[in-house]
Amino acid sequence: MSSPTERSLSYVEALQEAVAQEMERDESVFVIGLNVDDHKAIQGTTQGLIDTFGPQRVMDTPLSEDAITGICIGAAMAGMRPVHVHIRMDFLMLCMNQLVNMAAKAHYMYAGQVSVPMVSRSIIGKSWGQGAQHSQGLHSMFMHVPGLKVVAPTNAYDAKGCMTAAIRDNNPVIFVEHRLLYSTDAPVPVEPYTVEFGKARISGQGTDITLVGVSYMLVECLAARDLLAEVGISAEVIDPVSLMPLDVDTIAASAEKTGRLLVVDNAWTAAGASAEIVAAVCERQAGTPLIVSRMGYAPTTCPTTPALEKGFYPNAATIASRAHAMVRPNDPAWVPDVEPTLPHEAAFRGPF
């Protein structure tokens, strides 16, 4: 029997536990967002909170993302710690003004007279026809604006630790959750703990090329690593975990070692996180030749039909293929002969 501190939790359970423990620990924490209190409980991530903490601390809202974000900012300035839930990251576009012009700036603009400790949870969709407006990973926009922190944990352990850290953080944190990670399990300690922002993880060691996978793309990068191993290429896989602050040191050190850097984002590449990572690493290379590349969403809107969606996202095979071309530029192109769909993804069924 595993000890209680070594039990395994899903990403969903880990998020739920982190929030529940912080609510227990600190009266000022509350959860707010459309349908956070219903029987579906945001895919289970707010499960039971309404029963334990009641409707004053687990609040359903009108469809008013902009005002609710402002309400959270005001409440945060007054000392509360809101966790605002958006069931799609796409909906953050409705509250950009509050996030960019107020949340990010208040502490600075008012020279420290207030702070804005709040978390904006935002979920990224994929597959089953999420389509144009329910699939966007828009974290790059938030990385751009000083004053916001952005984290995108890729496993249950980091999900709990980052959520705990985000709630305790005295700044606005954009918390990026990919739906396909929700069902993944990992050992998660029972006790509350924090995962420090700004520390990347080496998720798999290697010597020939560095793969950086953002959010769900970390999973695809790890699968690509396995495929690459089969053809004798050793890939090091890095999970940045937090995007702002970003641990350039770890990534640059790996890239220096392998001489090749492929950044795969769960987002478009143009002026995105992948551009930032590549540029930041290249700025540090004082003349050392380094081969770099980026992958991400196709430079298109996301199509609904699976026939086209397939081509929209990078996957283990396309990542491995690109990595192979970077490591062995003179070999013929190689595309591993595998289904582009990983088991978690295949297990995910609609409608929602």
């Binding site: 409705l94 329910h134 196709a298 039909t305 026939a307």
Partner: protein, 340 residues
């Protein structure tokens, strides 16, 4: 005569409000539209577990009357805007059934070649504006289209109009208020129609609305409003007819709030009366007034059967069309990012 039938039918008189149209063709047309929508969605629900339709479907089963009552008074060249819960409005406005089904199947024969799916149906040939999965976003766009129609129709006695459907939840978005103000200020030819089914996903009005005085609020913009506390199709039609006429003649926007009820789950093919946020008993009064049954009962049996048969054929044909339609070519991914 149908109107005789009606006045002879105390049962109908009780459950149905509004003037039953004198013209039997209208009744038949309305019935056909209602039934086409209901049956199409029932078929979608039937097919759904096969995983042939891989996109979230938000069925309007139970709510058909709002779309049908309003769209029945629109001309072909009037324009219609709706939401991700848009099958009903799409079909009521005359959107192509084959293309819709192929779109849901994600096939190249879809109205948007599978790029749109259920949530973003579009058919500009029928003046069905593209729908959106982000609640409230289409409201100003519908008004903007009406703005253009208003310009085009300037000086004419009649102008084309836009009908804009949205849910109760959408009225909570700031853009709704902003749009009302602009539309009223510039007397845009737009008919706003709020399908108030009492829920946003599972959230009841009481969690979201400070008061239910929506029509009173809209009226403060100088917009004539019509509050309908049930979704009787002929009341809706009559209301929409009068409103549309006034809008068409330059009177500026009008607003209808119609109470209705979603019979199925928010998204997906099933029911959800065991899911704690509502009870089957809530459904019953709505089902008792099922507009499809009531309008069908006004027709003679033969006529009705003919319509029903025609509908089944059309749906079967559309499904077959969708099945037979090829998948979009992989290259299609890169088309339409930018217009030429």
């Amino acid at each position: 005569m149908l109107s005789d039938l009606v006045s002879n039918s105390p049962f109908l008189g009780e459950v149905m409000s509004g003037n039953i149209p004198a013209d039997p063709a209208i009744i038949a047309r309305v019935y056909r539209s209602l039934r086409l929508i209901r049956r199409t969605e029932e078929e979608i629900a039937r097919i759904y577990p096969s995983d042939k339709i891989k996109s979230p479907v938000h069925l309007s089963i139970g709510q058909e009357a709002v779309a049908v009552g309003v769209c029945d008074v629109l001309g072909d060249d009037d324009v219609m805007s709706a939401t991700y819960r848009g099958h009903a409005a799409y079909l009521a406005k005359g959107g192509d059934l084959r293309q819709m089904m192929a779109e849901l199947f994600g096939k190249a024969g879809g109205g948007a070649k599978g790029k749109a799916g259920s949530m973003h149906l579009v058919d500009m040939k029928a003046n069905v504006l593209g729908m959106s999965a982000v609640v409230g976003t289409t409201i100003p766009i519908a008004a903007g289209y009406a703005f253009a129609l208003g310009r085009e129709g300037q000086g004419e006695t009649e102008r084309r109009i836009t009908a804009c459907f949205f849910g109760d939840g959408a009225t909570e978005e700031g853009v709704f208020s902003e749009t009302l103000n602009f539309a009223a200020l510039h007397k845009l030819p737009v008919l706003f129609v709020c399908e108030n089914n009492g829920f946003a996903i599972h959230s009841p009005l009481s969690n979201r609305w400070a008061t239910e005085a929506l029509c009173e609020r809209v009226a403060t913009y100088g917009i004539p409003t019509h509050s309908l506390d049930r979704d009787d199709v002929f009341t809706i039609r009559e209301t929409a007819q009068k409103a549309a006429d006034e809008i068409r003649h330059g009177g500026g926007p009008q607003f209808i709030e119609c109470k209705t009820y979603r019979w199925r789950e928010h998204v997906g093919p099933g029911e959800d009366y065991d899911d704690s946020y509502r009870n089957r008993a809530d459904l019953e009064p709505w089902q008792a007034r099922d507009q499809i049954k009531l309008t069908g009962d006004m027709l003679d049996a033969g006529e009705r059967q003919a319509i029903d048969d025609e509908i089944e054929t059309a749906i079967a044909d559309a499904i077959q069309f969708a099945e037979d339609s090829p998948w979009p070519d992989p290259e299609e991914l890169f088309n339409h990012v930018f217009a030429d």
